[in-house]
């Protein structure tokens, strides 16, 4: 009898413990989920990075906003002045032609030269991911226009490897790659060379990448 009752009470205790633990788990999971949604549990360094990006975005949006406000007030003033309207439109056409690749560009920037190691038993080879990461880091750190071996990157230009060739949009080029980027020279140079960044990654894979600051880079039209 006593054995049976001890067994029953032990089962009861186990049941109660399981019940308590079981009831606590969803609460804990909910807390974790809520914290994830509100970003309260993120690394502060990541949040600071996000804030810096959002500040950059704010600056970009304000620039466009003030350009448009200016345009609206110019149009308001020139409502009966055809010559002024023509001048405004011509100015915008010139600016847009630079964007759409119809005009060659120049400005300060960086030149990144990438060479693979062809000697030895296992030659090194840059992967598509690495190339995309490098270009992305340049855009993220203030590049305005980029060319790869003289081929200008446009909105629809893909970059990928096929054997020994590197395809840049509809064109084909080969290693070594010379990547020219016009933009904020200091920022781009720093952006590429942060410890653990893309250049370290390339060096680890025995791909040499040399960054030079250039006071005047020329990038041709998109063909």
């Amino acid at each position: 009898m006593s054995k049976v009752s001890a067994w029953r009470s032990s089962l009861l205790i186990l049941f109660v413990i399981s019940l308590v633990v079981g009831s606590l788990l969803p609460g804990q999971a909910r807390v974790v989920r809520e914290m994830k949604q509100t970003y309260q549990n993120e690394d502060p360094k990541d949040l600071i990075r996000v804030i810096k990006d959002l500040q950059q975005r704010k600056q970009d949006l304000l620039t466009e906003e003030s350009r448009l406000s200016q345009k609206v007030s110019q149009y308001t003033r020139a409502s009966n002045d055809t010559a002024a309207q023509v001048a405004q439109l011509q100015h915008e056409i010139e600016v847009l032609k630079e964007r759409t690749g119809e005009v060659a560009l120049s400005g300060p920037g960086v030149r990144v030269t990438i060479k693979e190691e062809s000697s030895g038993a296992s030659p090194s080879m840059i992967a598509d991911d690495d190339l995309l990461l490098l270009l992305n880091d340049l855009w993220a750190s203030g590049a305005e226009v980029i060319s790869v071996n003289g081929i200008r990157l446009m909105d629809s230009t893909s970059v990928y490897r096929a054997g020994l060739n590197v395809h840049v949009g509809a064109k084909t080029t080969t290693m070594p790659l010379v990547i020219d980027a016009i933009g904020d020279t200091e920022n781009m140079s720093k952006g590429l060379q942060i410890p653990g960044g893309v250049l370290d990654l390339l060096n680890l894979r025995r791909i040499s990448a040399i960054v030079q600051k250039v006071s005047k880079i020329k990038i041709g039209i998109s063909t």
């Binding site: 633990v21 804030i51 500040q55 949006l61 055809t82 759409t100 560009l105 305005e144 990928y160």
Partner: protein, 244 residues
Amino acid sequence: MNGNRRNSVIFLVVLFVTATGFGYLLAVQFEPTVNKAYVVPAQNVELVDIMQGLEAENVASVQRILDLRNQVVDFEARNAATSGEVAALTQRVQELRAKAGQTDMMGAGVVVTLSDSLRTPTLSDDPNYFVIHDGYLRSIVNLMRRYGAMAISINDQRILADSPIVCAGPIILVNSTRMSPPYVITALGDQDMLGDSISQDVFFRVLEMYRDQFGIVCSLEKKASLSVPASLKTSEWRYAKGAQ
């Protein structure tokens, strides 16, 4: 009697060890979360406030830009009606704006949707396979360009050549704007060419394998009618100038 006492002592010891072991495992399981929750909240609460404040400002700024662009287009339409020269230049400006990604675009195309796995990785799993990384988005965008996409967006952000896709820990930023999963990547163009080529590409197949094995969301749909928003970036550059 002795036997019974011995049994209950053994039972209690077993129960104690089991409960302690279970408690220990629970503590280990939740330790990183608990530590983070108690060590950083004050600082993070402030940072999250700043982040959300900036996002609200940017949303308001986007709305003002869209309103101003509409006003500009209205002015241009009115002016074009008064002069043939203005009309021709206005048409040229509109074509260039579309080419520069400054107008909304509509058409057929494909949508690739990626999202983190809803499954929680176990201790033996590599959690990296359960989330969508910024590199996946870059590779999908590159594939879309390769197979003829004419306009691309990720969620509400237009992707141009200079659109960076970066990550800050688990947060993905596109055009310096925080993205939330699911990541809906839209490409306008020949839907069959885009859809068939992307779905047969090795990279997309790897993502499908992650979907089957780790539960991430990865899908591709061809659609007859899609829209891609305009870029909100200004068209004027600070450093690059027309070369003579």
